[in-house]
């Protein structure tokens, strides 16, 4: 009982750790998108599309962590 609880808790902690990197990555991507579209507002549409793509690539890591926390 006690061991199972600890293992489940460790899965959640592991997922939390896995979310740190993508969080930083998406933050940097969003910063770039915001500053870029503040300097050149006419490019905002394209920048936002690229931001979504970059955020999706970074988010893939967090999602892998989410899946692994479920299935392990």
């Amino acid at each position: 009982m006690e061991t199972i609880f600890i293992i489940n808790a460790l899965k959640l902690v592991g997922y939390g750790c896995a979310a740190i990197g993508p969080g930083i990555g998406i933050g940097i991507a969003c910063h770039g998108c915001c500053t870029g579209s503040a300097r050149q507002p006419e490019l905002a549409g394209r920048l936002f599309t690229n931001f979504i793509i970059a955020a999706a690539l970074a988010e893939a890591l967090a999602l892998l962590g989410f899946v692994l926390a479920f299935i392990l």
Partner: protein
């Protein structure tokens, strides 16, 4: 009565309400229609009604608000995702993109109505949607480059020869993993969002219950704070419902573009 004990008692019911319970079942076979599939069919019906009714009454100058709205949505998919992302030869991909966008958007929005379930909050449904997108972009990649050409085009051209197998392997893994990330992103966002809404609503009602049962009036203030959180979270969920439909569709468009472009 301790409100946190009450929450602890009731949180199991909240989790159970997210289970794919059967609406009806053929005997004890385990085959039947779950609540998510029922709501998926309702979302499908609403999508079909909106699009067919608007499609029948198309005129050169849109003359009603409803038709204008549907045309704007279609134009959004066509301009932003079709022309903006896929570029040359985008016209044949617009039907799939528009279908995905409208269906996912209506599924997500349906879940925000209290008492309804969001179909995209079940992993099996998002999995099916992402498999549709995955098969589609691979099919168009093979059709454009031919089978061997498509396999070669996974690795970007212009690499030094010894690096090609390594880069090819990593690109291949990231290609296969797309089917997983598309499905889990949509599912995770919708499921977690609705779970958070449920928890906030449960907290607000449990604190209020304990005030009614004669606890300190201070708990009433806490209940009010949870209610404000709930409203704020609901507003955020309205944004997320649109954003996830947008992200799913635009990523499908990007994958189609990557598969069909010649680099």
């Amino acid at each position: 009565m301790d409100p946190l004990a009450l929450v602890n008692e009731l949180v199991g019911h909240l989790q159970a309400s997210f289970d794919p319970a059967f609406v009806f079942e053929f005997g004890d076979s385990g085959i039947g229609m779950t609540q998510y599939v029922l709501w998926m069919f309702i979302a499908l019906a609403i999508t079909l009604i909106i699009v067919l009714v608007a499609g029948r009454r198309l005129t050169v100058v849109p003359n009603s608000k409803f038709i204008n709205m549907v045309e704007y949505g279609y134009q959004f998919v066509r301009k932003d995702m079709g022309e903006g992302v896929i570029g040359h030869g985008y016209k044949k991909h617009v039907p799939l993109l528009a279908t995905l966008f409208f269906f996912i958007l209506i599924s997500n929005v349906i879940g925000l109505i209290p008492g309804c379930k969001t179909p995209t909050g079940a992993l099996s449904i998002t999995w099916a949607l992402s498999v549709v997108s995955f098969v589609y972009f691979n099919y168009w990649g093979i059709k454009t480059h031919g089978g061997w050409g498509y396999i070669k085009s996974i690795a970007p051209s212009g690499l030094p020869a010894p690096m090609v197998p390594i880069i090819w392997f990593f690109e291949f893994v990231s290609l296969v993993i797309r089917v997983l990330t598309l499905a889990v992103r949509l599912y995770g966002n919708m499921f977690a969002g609705h779970m958070a809404l449920g928890i906030f609503a449960l907290m607000a009602s449990c604190f209020l219950t304990s005030v009614i049962n004669g606890a300190t009036v201070l708990f009433g203030g806490i209940s009010l704070v949870w209610l404000i959180f709930l409203v704020a979270m609901y507003a955020l969920e309205c944004l997320v419902a649109f954003l996830q439909a947008y992200v799913f569709t635009i990523l499908s468009a990007v994958y189609i573009q990557l598969a069909t472009s010649s680099h």
